[in-house]
Amino acid sequence: MNEERITEKLNILADAAKYDVSCASSGSKRKNENKGLGNASNGICHSYTEDGRCVSLLKILLTNHCIFDCAYCVSRKNNDIKRAAFTVQEVVDLTINFYRRNYIEGLFLSSGIFKDADYTMERLVRVAKKLRTEHKFNGYIHLKSIPGASDELMREAGLYADRLSVNLEMPTEAGLKLLAPDKNRQDMIDPMKFLKDEIILRTEEKKLFKKAPMFAPAGQSTQVIIGATPEDDQQILQSANYFYKNFNLKRVYYSGYVPVLADQRLPDLNTSVPMVRENRLYQADWLMRFYGFHVNEIVNNQQPLLDLDIDPKLSWAIRNMQVFPIDINKADLQMILRVPGIGLLSAQKIIGARKFAKLSWEQLKKIGVALNRARYFIICKSNEFERRDLTGNNIKQFILAESQSKYIKNTQSQLSLF
């Protein structure tokens, strides 16, 4: 192995891939049944970047050569940068050797478009095939589908990969037209539709025949870049909701645009990355997927933007003061989940614990409820509760005053939420 050359390639092709934010390696059920290498199940973050993002997969491009010229992308044709390309074998060796040392959960392979979609996709599939068949590799593989690749290749990709993704890139068709004139939205939607149908079909098959091969067991996901085009949060979340509902997507990733390129169509180079907004979008996304919120409860025509000061659950609560306070010892799970300061785990613990005895503030605190927020919205076994007739706005001010720095500087993503 030529150490210097491979190091250089890795630097270029990891650097070019890092703006794709998805790093999940969970949701698959691939076991190590052939006494081979690895398994893909629980999704571990093996490290964290200095910006606090999870490092779980070896995330690289096969090449950053590209025939397209998408304005927001560092690999675009007309950007004057160093180009490189891995061979199939190089990617396989890196993956195996990183995996054996417990650096990673698997591989996330994407690519610029070499010649045409199929030519590129065929190589991505070959990497996955080699890993699975020659190396008995059962770790996680996420392949990016190249828009416009043939159904045949997509089907093969699904047989080896755990997850496939087609990036929508821009929240709306108009945004895409503006920034990625070579791409067309239909080329992204078609493979999503194909994958959705194929996944359903294969899951049925698997129920009938245990031995039927797995097909993309971790499903499909997509990514949209936010802040590069003027869509508001309502448009973004509604589009996400549409794709969750109609394409059975596992995840939609929101990637705050990092201004690395000068182009009149794009925000200025010194614009800051919309990290708080990105975080709020993830929180809203969680509310839709796990907390039983309908998208219109979070954003609507009166409220097209997420509140940046406070999380979307608190924001919903202060707009809907008429449903509070709720009695923590009586309310059903769905309602408890809507209380600011109570997360999924705490809600379940409350339901379990109150079977034994009514819960007081002290106990709620121990269970993990953030009382500084929750106390305005609940009553429990105690004579103390919020008696003042506060407006939503009062509450917002109190909470903000109390946890100011925390709220405003809180720029992290995905994990710690409510």
Partner: protein
């Protein structure tokens, strides 16, 4: 107030519970001490681990708790957290003194404490599963040194055995001076001559040919995925507290 001194084993703990009920001791403190230093204490009851008694207490626990509940108790004790014996004893007494299964009674302080202990143990286990870095030695064994806050090595066996079924590996807890060796078939507890295993220089001299290259590539990878414009040191440190750094290839 009685001080019970036991040998630190789970059986010893259960024997202590037996004594507490047999002698009707209400205010007790349980501590782990080597047998011979016991003489330093007054008002001390030495617990002599007794398998029969332990088995009886365990059977009692099995009747009152789910099997997962018993398992959790075992893990909480095995973690060897300093001075947590009293919470564990408190939990066991609450279990025996209540008619129904109390596993979910988080309003009770012992139940809550046990769940906190388990949360810490689980977090440490996950951290180890994430932060262990194997180094490939010339004989094709993959070696990793760890220093977990709690005794979680036994909890790691299943994960690593499932995952790395086709490579030989050793995970060694430097703090507690024992390790696990997987030989492609089974795992065994081992202890290594301290001078061999734990001095970084010795390990480096035993590296396989390509070990250095892959460490170098990994460090490079780690550096190039960073997005400078998004830097957030506080968050970074919360995810990887500094005490874990010295075994992380990308942080050395």
């Amino acid at each position: 107030m009685y001080t019970l001194v036991y040998d630190g084993t789970f059986e010893g703990l259960l024997t202590a519970v037996f004594e507490i009920y047999e002698r009707k001791l209400f205010h007790v403190k349980l501590i782990k001490v080597e047998w011979r230093s016991g003489a330093m204490f007054e008002e001390v009851l030495q617990i002599i681990t007794d398998d029969k008694r332990a088995t009886r207490v365990l059977a009692g626990l099995r009747r009152k708790l789910s099997s997962a509940g018993v398992q959790r108790l075992y893990i909480a004790h095995m973690a060897e957290m300093v001075d947590e014996e009293s919470s564990i004893i408190g939990f066991i007494r609450y279990v025996f003194d209540t008619d129904v299964n109390v596993e979910e009674d988080y309003g009770n302080k012992y139940v809550m404490r046990l769940s906190e202990i388990l949360k810490m143990v689980r977090r440490e286990k996950h951290r180890m599963e994430a932060f262990i870095r194997f180094q490939k030695l010339a004989d094709e064994t993959y070696y990793a040194a760890i220093e977990p806050d709690f005794n979680v090595l036994p909890l790691l066996i299943r994960h690593f055995k499932n995952r790395y079924a086709d490579q030989k590996w050793i995970i060694y807890d430097i703090k507690r001076r024992y390790g696990i060796h997987y030989d492609l078939h089974d795992t065994q507890y081992i202890s290594l001559d301290f001078s061999d295993a734990s001095k970084p220089a010795d390990v480096i001299s035993a590296y396989s040919k390509d070990e250095k290259i892959y460490q170098h590539l990994w460090k490079n990878y780690f550096a190039s995925v960073n997005i400078v414009l998004r830097k957030n040191t506080k968050l970074h440190l919360r995810h990887i507290p500094k005490r874990y750094w010295r075994h992380l290839t990308e942080k050395i």
